[in-house]
Amino acid sequence: MKRIQSLALTLCILVALTTCVFAVSEEFVVYSDKNSSDNHYIASGWMGDHGDLKLNDQSMQEPQSGKTCIEVVYIAKKSQNQGWAGIYWQNPANNWGNKKGGFDLTGMTKITFWAKGAKGGEIISKFMVGGIKGTYPDSAEVEEGPIELTDTWKQYSINLAGKDLSYISAGFAFVVNADMNMDGATFYLDEIKYEADPDVKPQGRKKEDMPFYVFADRGSINNHFIPSGWMGDYGDIKYNGGSNEDPYLGDTCIKIVYTGAVSQGARWAGLYWQHPPNNWGNQDKGFDLSQATKLTFWAKGAKGGERIEEFKVGGIMGEYSDSDSASIGPVILNPEWTQYTIDLKGKDMSYIIGGFCWGTNVDVNPEGATFYLDEIRFE
């Protein structure tokens, strides 16, 4: 009899456990409401200009559901001189990969969340899952953005199907930057959760639609590459991505002053627009620009006669190299805006991390060169 009782008890426990696991495997909450026992991560990983951020996780400003939502205020003052800021939701709190924690979220296929801006038009550079390195690194890193918020609640979803979610210590994150939110941004988040949706299938690398901008205007959501790859005599370069000196189109253009001072002794200098910033081929995050047949851009010299040795697309070599490269040059700039084209026919543009690049040297510009760029885009 005792045996039967014991067997029944074991069965009950097994059923209960199965139900519990099933419940967990359906959804897994990052944040639902302040103090909710369902919350699994803490908003403890403040990054970049953290002094520019304020977070209120019990805002009652019309939450999407429940009693509270998250309010983020970003003032874009560059308190730490970074030009960007963000917050990771971590487990345990302040875990930058130095502690064992996190969750095995295998089986989840997407993360969903609701967001809105205070005014609408606020731009979030990216929302992220995972990506923490260190001794206990996250098993995946997924990001999506930039996203322009509306002034009403809208649900967003990031596809996680096929990703290794066996260890996720950074459950969620956002990044904003000052370029895209010059006057700052206030926005709201709610109901952040992982879901096991069997209809969500693994996503291949998306073929980007054309035109695809490297640079459209300062702070534009259409800008896809960052001018982070400073080369050679980088101290000789002054970059202004928001010059309002006679832009070709829109409110701003790029102004570059190359002094030719040979600050690092290289006698040449150049700048790559990269994705993501500082990606010298060490991050597997290229854009699929297979549909592009050319890259066009507008350029002019301050005086005319400035010589740029090379304008280039692709060509970054690393573990994850650009799939191809194409260039024109040398180009002697005119004093008036002139459109230039880099032909991409026959090129493999399926994986591009170096969207655009220029390079020149002091031998052909002994007194330096000041020049302008605008409307750099793949077509």
Binding site: G281, I316, E319, S321, S323, V331, K345, G346, D348
Partner: protein, 430 residues
């Protein structure tokens, strides 16, 4: 003339005297002439195939044919400079015959080709090396010529006298060695196209100097250079129809110009360093200059500039990956089908390279990197990560064996040997 049947039932012509005999002779003569003409025609159409040529297959893929059989170039660049000597050393006349030791090791590895950048001064020495390698080990030679790149002053490809001088030099080489059974093909130049860009050994003409647009200047130089190579190729073909002529070219730069002015060349001999793969090289060549390609210089060094120690695994990793990419693009594979094979850089380390003007340095295996290339990403954190003195798949040591620096094959020697035996391509992995 009457006819009937004999006892055996055979049709016979009954003679009608000498007139009939004369008519018969005419028939025989006519038949003989016809046969002779037929044989003549057949002779014209069935002229023997060249000893080495490149066949275009029905699927537009290119295949190297040697002595009637498909041939994949599995080779190395060969310049066996002993420790303590510089690039000026005439190894062709080395009494210790390094090619005998090397050839044996090469054969065991599966190498069937070496690439030499230029021939030694003494033709008899050169012939001896070629014959030894071919007769003892069945190893063939890709014979290179610098086409004046390192002449002093800088080459002036726009100068007719210079062109004539180089043409004479090249044709002399072809005449000297074309009948050597070990010769595989000729390669004209190395990275001479960079001289058109002004990067190395810059040259110009008055007309070019008067052109204000720098892009047009480059085009003008490239037009002159590739047109010259084309004329040279035609002359080589006249002298030696038995071997292909390849255009040495750094990367694919300016081959769009070659496409206009260098159509007589048989193949591109590409010099390229792009890390673990060659990227879009093969497909890109299809669209810019649709010629077969043999990679005559590629590879990886065996010194980890970041860890500051020899790293045989790193070299083997890159070389195996590069060879896999080559094989994926051979004829009848899934790639572009325009690759004929390659000669990796290089067989043995060269200790003189760090400072070629310092004889004391020729005895030191220098570890200072020359330049940086992020695609060799394992030690790219070092910045400058390319170590020119460590490219050998065979290491040299100061210990002597039969008068030669002792050879020690590195890991890549065994890895590539195994790859050639059992090439595993991506499609096999699926």
């Amino acid at each position: 003339m009457r006819s009937g049947l004999n006892k055996q039932g055979h049709k016979v012509i009954k003679s009608q005297g000498h007139k009939l005999k004369a008519t018969g002779r005419r028939w025989i003569l006519l038949a003989a002439c016809s046969l002779f003409f037929l044989f003549f025609l057949l002779g014209l159409t069935s002229r023997p195939k060249p000893r080495v040529y490149i066949r275009t297959l029905k699927n537009k893929h290119y295949q190297l044919i040697v002595e009637g059989k498909p041939y994949i170039v599995k080779g190395v660049c060969y310049n066996p400079i002993p420790i303590g000597e510089s690039h000026e050393y005439d190894w062709w006349s080395d009494k210790n015959k390094p090619w005998i030791v090397d050839g044996k090791l090469m054969q065991e590895m599966g190498i069937n080709t070496i690439r030499i950048y230029s021939c030694g001064e003494n033709p008899e020495d050169v012939k001896r090396v070629m014959r030894d390698l071919y007769e003892l080990y069945n190893i063939r030679v890709i014979v290179g010529h610098w086409v004046g790149l390192w002449n002093y002053p800088c080459p002036s490809y726009g100068d007719k006298e210079f062109q004539q001088k180089i043409t004479k030099e090249v044709l002399e080489v072809v005449e000297l060695y074309k009948d050597e059974p070990g010769v595989l093909m000729w390669v004209l130049g190395n990275e001479n196209n960079y001289s058109c860009l002004g990067r190395v050994r810059p040259w110009s003409t008055e007309k070019i100097d008067n052109e204000p647009d720098p892009q047009t200047q480059i085009f003008m130089r490239a037009k002159i250079y590739y047109s010259f190579i084309n004329e040279l190729t035609k002359k080589i073909h006249e002298v030696d129809p038995d071997h292909p002529v390849a255009l040495g070219n750094g990367e694919l730069m300016l081959l769009d110009v070659a496409n206009q002015f260098c159509q007589d060349i048989d193949a591109v001999a590409c010099i390229i360093y792009r890390g673990k793969s060659f990227g879009n090289l093969f497909n890109s060549l299809r669209t810019t200059f649709d010629k077969p390609i043999v990679l005559t210089e590629f590879g990886a060094d065996a010194y980890n500039a970041y860890d500051k120690k020899e790293d045989e695994g790193m070299q083997a990793f890159f070389l195996e990956s590069q060879w896999r990419h080559i094989y994926e693009n051979l004829a009848n594979e899934e790639g572009a089908g325009n690759c004929l094979g390659g000669t990796s850089f290089e067989w043995s380390d060269e200790w003189w390279k760090h400072n070629e003007s310092d004889p004391e340095g020729w005895n030191i295996h220098d570890t200072e990197s020359f330049w940086g290339q992020g695609s060799y990403y394992i030690d790219a954190k070092a910045g400058k990560n390319i170590n020119e003195e460590w490219f050998g798949i065979v290491a040299l040591s100061e210990e002597l064996e039969n008068g030669l620096n002792k050879r020690t094959p590195r890991k890549s020697y065994y890895v590539i040997k195994e790859f050639w035996r059992n090439p595993k391509l991506k499609k096999d992995d699926k």
